[in-house]
Symmetry: C2
Subunit: 226 residues, 2 copies
């Protein structure tokens, strides 16, 4: 491991950083228009991108692209974040019964990617993520406003409009998982910015699932160090 | 029934019309910036709205609002479309075992509204609808484009990006229903522009559900005639 190498994933909504603190990494997120964080040297910054590039002098030779990731049947058009998440899931998941892995990344979109225990990509699904769904209702309707607080109601049927939206959106994300995840055959790993919010709801209903918010950033480090 | 009375619901994305053809109604939809359809006289047009009003001379005294609809525990802030759908569901559904009714309106949003057999509103959920979800992924990401064709893949896990989006979005909508609909206790009625697309998928998995695309417009006619 090279000491002063840091990592950046340019997402659709935010910048995701892994700062090398010698013995371990600190993961954090910034807005796209923020300045480069302290202690981050752009010359030694390994980066990847799925979103619009920020106004930073990122070195092209330090870029990781989907084509660089060693997974079987990985299509070049898959986002590099999906590839990195799969790579890391293969590395960290104990999988003695050789189940398929289902990686669910709760970000701007929810991307679900299924792969075999041998690391061969099967395919996936993509839906709008938690905030994207809430914002879309504000954008495409005349009367709805995206809630500012994200307390998911326990009750199933709500009277208050914001509660109804929060419950609907969390059910839509959980519902996609329910239709894709077969615990008898798959191991589910959830990652991304909303993985703790939705993952904790999933855990209430499902047997073991693995919540690993920084899976993709860890995958970048893993890829770089091998 | 008064012969030359026609009906309009101003939705978020489109205008929904019921044209009185003496013995029955013709239901059709137009874009918001289209001209008034032939044979529609604005003076005799009964209307309701949940979206931005089009540039038409709609008569205020011909407007139906949520407050006008006779349902128990109906909150004034509920969209009039939800109220009208519930009113019509109560009228048309044979319900000898007095189950609750679950009205799912697949439009710009998917609104789910649950009410008792006696017509008392319990509450609901709201998520982005089929097209809203597809459009939101184009809007809030850098690389995704909303598909132009809407053939929902049969396979669960897809390699092609548009297929992955279509499967993800249809699973998200079906998933919300799965989490809300208990066939032992509820009767599910689906309506709205995408009710046939998603309803046919739901029918493959679920016992009896009722697909009634024009439920809300029929509710307007029912409300007016009583």
């Amino acid at each position: 491991m090279i000491d002063d190498i840091n990592f950046l994933l340019v997402g659709n909504s935010r910048l995701h950083w892994a700062e090398n603190l010698q013995s371990k990494y600190k993961f954090f997120h910034t807005q796209k228009n923020n300045n480069v964080p302290q202690n981050i040297n752009l010359n030694n910054l390994i980066w990847a991108s799925v979103g619009k590039l920020p106004d930073l002098s990122l070195k092209q030779e330090n870029r990781i692209s989907t084509q660089d990731i060693k997974l079987k049947n990985l299509p070049n058009h898959f986002g590099v974040d999906r590839a990195l998440g799969c790579l890391e899931a293969l590395k960290i998941i104990e999988n003695p019964s050789r189940k398929d892995l289902l990686v669910a990344d709760f970000g701007t979109t929810l991307s679900i990617t299924k792969l075999t225990a041998k690391g061969s990509i099967i395919g996936g699904q993509i839906t709008p993520g938690f905030l994207t769904q809430l914002r879309s209702m504000e954008k495409y309707t005349d009367n709805l406003k995206a809630p500012k607080k994200y307390d998911i109601p326990v009750q199933d049927f709500l009277i208050n409009t914001e509660d109804s939206m929060l419950k609907g959106v969390s059910n839509s994300l959980m519902g996609v998982i329910n239709l894709s995840f077969n615990p008898a055959k798959d191991i589910l790993i959830v990652c991304g910015g909303d993985s703790e919010l939705i993952g904790s709801l999933l855990k209430q209903k499902k047997e073991e699932i693995i919540i690993s918010p920084n899976l993709v950033m860890q995958g970048m480090i893993t890829h770089f160090n091998h």
